[in-house]
Amino acid sequence: MYLESHGIAADLPPGWEGSIEVERDPDAVSLAELGGVLRPVTHLGTFPLPRDRGDFGSGAVDVMGGEDAFIALVEYDPAEASSELFASRGLPRSLDPRAFSSQALQRQRGRQAGWQGFFNEGGRAFCLYVVLGDLDDLHLLARKVEQVLAGIRVEVER
């Protein structure tokens, strides 16, 4: 499966699905009119992603199994790309399973483990948030995610 939108492309291995979307909700559009910045969110998962999900995967992580993985690649205002939080350069392509923790989640849930990293690439600011389904399978699941990360391309901000 190949996804491409908003200057982001993801070549997904079999068994993955995903979306690259900028929010279109009327509230978001109204906020944009008030100065809010709308940037894309990429959601990738090894399970069917429910339609109603938060930007960091709430709703989706609720239905993932122990053998599943979820990736959120969340983009921010490019003006933040040079800030301290986004100082790390380049999308992480390899993950350290030891960095994953059940505490590093938006919401602690069962045996899930998470990891979050902020970075800049191509003049753009991103957060990569990964949720793995089972603390006991971190190595295997992290490798699965790395396969996907290897296929993600980010275009330079114009």
Binding site: V37, G54, S58, L85, A104, R107, F118
Partner: protein, 525 residues
């Protein structure tokens, strides 16, 4: 209509709460304390969402605190739950990011924003469950960051707690960026220390300001209705006033206290038009529909109507009047007001508002001001060494001012005032034997009844004064001293005349007989 609805709800709630209370009370193992806590939550739930609470198979906890309120459900607690009621980031944490919930009933259908307060680098905190209310979510456990705020701080730390807002985060805190992130799965999350779905505009604003963690402190009394559908609420250190035309405005400290004393928007000032600004030297100004309030140190002075507008046109505290020293007060005649300042006063009436300053103010007020004095209200500012009033004029002289009023003032002004033929005024007008007297450098002017102001000088004046002036038997002058065609100097009086022939050394005094006819004169050699 509201009242009817509330009565129905109240009655229904009474019935259900009785049943549910009995159900809980009958449950074995329920301690008195836990029952009371539960009862409080039941009460809150019934107050907040009574119909929903009755008809849906949900617990009171879920009704007040929303979904995911238990610690093991993984969400983070609200700050007010753990921060003594304050809807603010507690010490040792910083605003780290935010998300929105679309069309939230907590924000009257507008987006609601949840702000994460993360542990500050260098601070410490312990992962635990919040307790004491139904918001038993986690505290300082989830290492996670939304990432739009304070991006000068790198890294990801534990979320200590969550603040809620109905205001866009970048408006609420400029340290927050504008990238919009959304999580509608948190739609029902709430806590007893937060306002419910039926919160008023003022309550929502107070919550956005931080509840009791705001500069306003705790509410004092309940929210009050204002004119034209508005409302206002007094707090320990301020006032919130709301009306559709102005939105919610915050008044602080002394200005807020005085505004409350003046009955808020129902009083003479009406609704505020801004939240105040510092003018100069620590003096602040807040504008209202019908005036302005000035904060000077720990005091606040309310200026109403035309006095307020005039003061502002005179550059307010940085103008010549200086800062107010008292608010606008009635003069006592029921027609006007006075407002006092460091360097003068503004008197206002139906004829407008005018400043009265040194050197005029002391004389004006010694004479009784507008209500008890002869001058009436000022009708213009001081100009060219004098200030005009409804019934007179004050003329500057040295460090002070002299007053003229009535016919003498009218004639003085008609004759070009200090540039006219009478010359400088020597003292304020007086009254002798019922006759107004004003002494100028060149003449002395007398006015009695309807005769008008008459000016005498030279030998004629001296003779008149020698004869007793207004108290003498000549009475008041009825003409100026004038020169006839034959060169005679003459002045007429109520009861006679004084004549000075050309070349004569002394004037003649002519007195009317009692009939006062012109041909009945008695001549005094």
């Amino acid at each position: 209509m509201n009242t009817t609805r509330r009565r129905f709800v109240d009655r229904a709630v009474d019935r259900v709460s009785t049943r549910l209370g009995r159900r809980d009370a009958d449950r074995p193992g329920l301690t008195r304390r836990s029952f009371l806590v539960r009862a409080a939550v039941v009460g809150s739930a019934l107050t907040i969402a009574p119909l929903r609470w009755m008809v849906r198979p949900t617990s009171a906890y879920a009704s007040v605190c929303g979904e995911g309120a238990a610690c093991n459900q993984g969400w983070t607690a609200f700050c007010c739950t753990i921060n003594e009621g304050a809807n603010t980031c507690p010490p040792g944490s910083f605003v780290a990011g935010w998300w929105k919930i679309d069309r939230s009933p907590f924000c009257e259908g507008a987006p609601r924003y949840i702000i994460d307060c993360n542990r500050s680098p260098g601070s410490s905190c312990r992962c635990r469950c919040a307790s004491g209310t139904c918001d038993q979510r986690r505290v300082c456990c989830n290492v996670f960051r939304y990432g739009q705020c304070n991006t000068q701080i790198g890294g990801v730390t534990e979320v200590v707690c969550r603040v809620v807002l109905c205001t866009a985060p970048w408006v609420w805190d400029p340290a927050c960026g504008r990238t919009v992130r959304t999580d509608n799965r948190t739609r029902t999350h709430n806590a007893p220390c937060l306002y419910d779905r039926d919160a008023t505009v003022i309550e929502r604003s107070y919550q956005d300001l931080g509840l009791n963690g705001s500069e306003l402190g705790e509410p004092v009394g309940s929210e009050r209705s204002g004119p034209r559908g508005g409302a206002w609420q007094v707090y320990d250190h301020g006032v919130l006033a709301w009306h559709t035309a102005i939105g919610v405005l915050v008044l602080r400290d002394a200005i807020a206290r005085r505004y409350a004393e003046l009955d808020g928007p129902s009083g003479a000032l009406g609704y505020p038009r801004d939240e105040g600004e510092t003018i100069d030297g620590g003096v602040s100004r807040t504008r209202f529909e019908r005036g302005a309030m000035y904060g000077v140190g720990d005091d606040a002075f309310a200026l109403f109507g035309p006095a307020a507008a005039r003061y502002e046109r005179l550059d307010g505290p940085v103008g010549t009047l200086g800062a107010p020293t008292a608010g606008t007060e009635p003069v006592g005649d029921g027609r006007g007001s006075v407002t006092r300042f460091e360097n003068g006063a503004i008197y206002a009436s139906g004829q407008g508002a005018q400043p009265v300053q040194a050197p005029y103010l002391a004389t004006y007020e010694q004479l009784g001001g507008p209500a008890d004095g002869p001058l009436g209200y000022p009708i213009g500012p001081s100009e060219d060494g004098q200030q005009r009033f409804a019934r007179g004029v004050l003329v500057a002289s040295g460090d002070g001012a002299f007053a003229l009023w009535g016919p003498i003032a009218d004639r003085y002004l008609a004759l070009d005032g200090r540039d006219g033929p009478w010359g400088p005024l020597q003292e304020s007008q007086t009254t002798e034997a019922g006759v107004d007297v004003a002494r100028f450098a060149a003449v002395t002017v007398f006015a009695a009844g309807s005769i008008g102001a008459r000016a005498l000088d030279g030998r004629v004046l001296e003779t008149y004064l020698d004869e007793g002036g207004p108290a003498g038997d000549l009475g008041a002058p009825t003409t100026d001293r004038f020169r006839t065609r034959t060169g005679q100097q003459r002045a007429g009086f109520e009861h006679g005349a004084i004549e000075l022939d050309p070349g004569a050394s002394s004037p003649r005094v002519l007195r009317f007989r009692s009939t006062r006819r012109a041909n009945d004169l008695t001549i005094t050699p």
